[in-house]
Amino acid sequence: MELAAPSARRLYQRFVEGIDGPLLTLSLMLAALGLATLFSASYEQPGRVASQAANLTVALAGMWVMARIPPQTLMRFAVPAYLFGIALLIAVALAGDIVNGARRWLHVGVTRFQPSEMMKLALPLMLAWYFHKNEATLRLRDFGVAALLLALPVLLIARQPDLGTAVLVAAAGCYVIFFAGIGWKVIAALGVLGLASLFPLWGMLHDYQRRRILTLLDPAQDPLGAGYHTIQSTIAVGSGGITGKGWLRGTQTHLEFIPERHTDFIFAVFSEEFGLIGNLVLLALYTLLIARGLMIAASAATFFSRLIAASITLMFFTYAFVNMGMVAGILPVVGVPLPFISYGGTALLTLFIGIGILMSVHNHRRLVQT
């Protein structure tokens, strides 16, 4: 009896070893808020909450595994993962399934798989690997190579067409390039160039993509079409007020005025029912999570782990900002889930794998010198 207690404790310690308390707490709090909101959003389909809980279990397992893989090992997978992702994207372009007019899915045995999702992690890994290899001799040319490595998957995803994911993958890559130390002058020059290329880019967009952007400027123009989402979600947020209408009491939600209320527009449900106070709590949780991530990046041991940690952390920010901005009507409607809150197994798994990587980076951090 005396022996059993310490061994159980040791087993527990072995189990939680390498799990970062603050990160786990923050992400679980967000996931819990997500389940509560999902319960309200899917009152007519209670099965969804259970299925999201199952997704969460799988995602936590993914996090647990990733937290145990040292960054050095992860680095070895960077190139194969990138090449594999590119191969899959090409396969999708040639033989993918078309769902809602876009070619995004690939059949793998019995299930379908969205290779662009994988790129959200594979691209930053690849770029971080590349910069790490050339750390000692980083020159402008290396940033050029990185830009090419970034452009290839982004263009493949953009022509599926899936502009939302393309922007996210591009952002993940750009963060790595930024943290690798690209000069401010280059950034400024690229910024000017980017603004100048808006005009030709506009011509390349699909009609529905253009309409989404135009609708942002004037949603009332197309109340039954593209503007419907924005109008209804803005009403939901605005009518929530300071304290919200209360859990399960959102009229916009329960009268089915909010489209895609389980997935991309779940924030409208949250905001309607929990109000400005709820939003503030959500923003605070995200801020703390991001702060923790940036701290881990700042104390990471190697160039590679630094870049990957910072990039993943800013990805959380990007998801959250783009999604909430879209629901609040200040960004165009693109298919971006609200991290840890939106319904969907693949996105949740990607997010927790990211958390796992952060934990792993933290476990192998630079020891503070005295």
Binding site: E44, Q45, P46, G47, I98, V99, N100, G101, F178, F179, G181, D207, Y208, D222, L224, G225, Q232, T234, I235, A236, V237, G238, S239, G240, G241, I242, T251, Q252, H254, L255, E256, F257, S271, G275, L276, N279, L280, L283, Y286, T287, I290, A291, L294, A297, A298, F303, R306, A310, L314, F317, F321, M324, G325, A328, G329, I330
Partner: protein, 644 residues
């Protein structure tokens, strides 16, 4: 050195941490911006949005418009709507679909067919609001379900309009059918920017005129403002903008004539297109076999679909616009016309036909062993001499032939108001260059030109092209776009919009040449290969028989119908226009594997023309089967006909 590297490292780390700080600042700034927006919406403008949310108790419900009717030229309804009750499942509100369907089958009859159709619809249309499990409920079933309604949340009875095609498979390829809007249709609607007008509409034209005139037939969706309670149920209607029914579409087609034409095919495969030469209006449009479009309206069940789709007779293919066939000897009048216009032959040109044409050491055989002897241009059409046209094609050269035939619309889409038209092949060196990959295949050989002259070789055209070419010849070179629709009625405004005949081109042809070719085609029907069917016709007409080879014959091998399997027998073709002066109808008919043109296709043409020009009951005409049987005791003239 070492120290420098270390310092460098330190410096790098410092810059990295600087950027981390910058990023943290940017994140904060962005979140402050978001918070400002939330504050603006939720505090500053809260009242506005709160009242908007309150007003959202008013739901806008779309009212689907009634689909326009399709009528034949005499006002006979070919596609109509009727109202019936359907039992619909809202998949999003049902927990266990299989169980619900199982329970439903205890209340109303649910057959295996209904289940498999529902499953198919459920798989195809992912985000459908509701899907029918049963259509056309009887009053008793409606009553029984109403009594058990409490057991089935997420299942509702709806009154819906259904499309019905009263004539079944008659003219099915013309009328087409409607079906549920799927993802692909949705995308098309988005492209046309008419999505909003399709809210509340579940069906869309999928083929035939139902598809090509979809925008006319659909109408304008209406809206109803309904006040709803907290549970989202409608309490009362506040305002209503009624839907505007779609336009009625009236065809140039005569359904009686169509019926006569389809009946006389008597189950054989083939196609027939009859056109009014002076307008391009299509009078009859047959593709056999057909199918029953009513099967598709509720979503076709997989078993019926498999049967239609896997049938070797390919009933779903619209042969009249998508089938491509060699024209065989029906090509000869155009060849003669080309020869006269281009000065390669005169009306008096004559040859001695020994029964073959020799070129490059190869013998091109005439279908009549021993040949036709002395053959001039007139006789070459009347008896259908192959030798004459082998020689002519060789003299003209492929470029001249392709150039001339292109004007008659051979090898180009006719522009008929149906979707899915095939292009066919107007052979030319340019076409071959594009069609083939290997250099030795890309080269045009002079020997290949020879059989082009008798409508064989690479020649391949759709029935609609062959009918339009004939109508153009009959109208002295005036080519009209073929069309099935005569006018469109807007019931609301009472406005009638006529589709005016569209003159595509007027081919300049010399009157004496036209007169000659038409006279020769009249000769075909009076004393030549078409005489058996048209010799006794009380009206004047010009025709030409055609026999198109399905399989290639080796040199010296003789075609023996009995030795060739049914699917490999020759196609039987016939073109005819009547009356000779100012023709009222130009017709092309093909019977797949029907053998000689004079035997299978010509009697069909005669029956259709008799009905159209004389109003004659088809029963009185010689049955095509009977005509074929007489083959053994054929007269000399008929023997000639057989040797087409």
């Amino acid at each position: 050195m070492k120290l420098g590297e270390f310092k460098n490292h330190e410096r790098e780390l410092y810059f990295f941490q600087l950027r981390i700080g910058f990023a943290g600042f940017a994140v904060l700034a962005a979140f402050v911006l978001l918070f400002a927006r939330f504050f603006h919406l939720q505090v500053v403008q809260h009242d506005t949005y709160a009242s908007k949310a309150e007003d959202n108790r008013i739901s806008i419900v779309p009212i689907a418009p009634n689909r326009g009717l399709i009528l034949d030229r005499n006002g006979v309804v070919l596609a109509r709507n009727y109202s019936a009750y359907t039992l619909e499942i809202f998949p999003a509100k049902v927990r266990d679909l299989e169980r619900t369907i199982q329970d439903l089958s205890e209340v109303v009859e649910v057959q295996a067919k209904d289940r498999s159709r529902f499953r198919k619809l459920h798989a195809e249309i992912r985000n459908a609001e509701s899907l029918p499990i049963r259509t056309r409920l009887t009053d008793e079933e409606v009553a029984r379900f109403a009594a058990n309604r409490y057991r089935f949340p997420g299942v509702e009875i709806k009154a819906r309009l259904f499309r019905q095609y009263p004539y079944g498979d008659l003219a099915a390829h013309v009328i087409g059918y409607i079906g549920r809007i799927n993802a692909k249709d949705q995308e098309k609607l988005a492209e046309l920017e008419v999505e909003a007008n399709y809210r509340g509409t579940d069906y869309i034209g999928k083929s035939g005129l139902e598809a090509s005139y979809q925008q006319e037939l659909h109408g304008t969706t209406g809206f109803e403002q309904v006040e709803i309670d907290a549970a989202g149920r409608g309490i009362r209607t506040l305002a209503r903008t009624p839907a505007q029914a779609g336009n009625n579409v009236t065809l140039t087609l005569d359904i009686k004539l169509q019926e006569v034409a389809e009946k006389v095919f008597a189950g054989r495969r083939g196609a027939l297109v009859a056109i009014e030469p002076s307008t391009g209006g299509v009078l009859a449009f047959v593709s056999m076999p057909g199918f029953d479009p009513n099967l598709f309206v509720d979503g076709i069940d997989p078993a019926s679909w498999a049967e239609l789709n896997n049938s070797p007779d390919r009933p779903l293919t619209n042969r009249a616009i998508a089938g491509i066939y060699p024209p065989g000897s029906t090509f000869k009048p155009y060849m003669a016309m080309a020869a006269l216009e281009l000065g390669k032959r005169t009306q008096k040109s004559a040859i001695h036909d020994p029964g073959y044409f020799e070129f490059g050491g190869r013998r091109f055989r005439d279908s009549k062993a021993g040949g036709h002897g002395y053959v001039d241009l007139y006789k070459s059409i009347v008896v259908s001499s192959d030798t004459f046209y082998y020689q002519l094609a060789n003299d003209m050269g492929i470029d001249a032939i392709a150039g001339f035939m292109g004007k008659f619309g051979f090898g180009a889409k006719s522009g008929i108001d149906l979707e899915g038209e095939a292009i066919g092949v107007l052979p030319s060196p340019e076409w071959k260059l594009k069609r083939f990959r290997r250099p030795e295949q890309q080269k045009w050989y002079a020997g290949e030109t020879v059989s082009i002259g008798i409508g064989q070789g690479y020649n391949a055209y759709t029935p609609i092209q062959l009918a339009v070419a004939l109508a153009t010849l009959a109208a002295d070179g005036a080519m009209y776009r073929p069309r099935l629709v005569s006018y469109i009625d807007n019931l609301r405004s009472g406005e009638r919009r006529h589709i005016e005949p569209e003159l595509l081109t007027r081919i300049p042809l010399k009157p004496e040449n036209l007169e000659f070719v038409k006279r020769a085609m009249a000769g075909v029907n009076k004393e030549g290969t078409g005489a058996r069917s048209f010799g006794t016709a009380p009206y004047s007409s010009g025709g030409k028989t055609g026999t198109a080879q399905v399989i290639g014959m080796k040199q010296g091998e003789k075609y023996d119908e009995k030795r060739v399997s049914e699917r490999h027998r020759d196609h039987s073709l016939y073109i005819v226009f009547a009356p000779l002066e100012s023709p009222k109808i130009a017709l092309f008919a093909i019977v797949e594997n029907g053998g000689f043109g004079a035997r299978a296709a010509a009697p069909i043409a005669r029956t259709v023309l008799d009905y159209y020009l004389l109003g004659k009951d088809p029963e009185a005409v010689v049955e095509p089967a009977a005509a074929a049987k007489r083959g053994s005791g054929a007269t000399a003239a008929e023997e000639e006909a057989e040797s087409d």
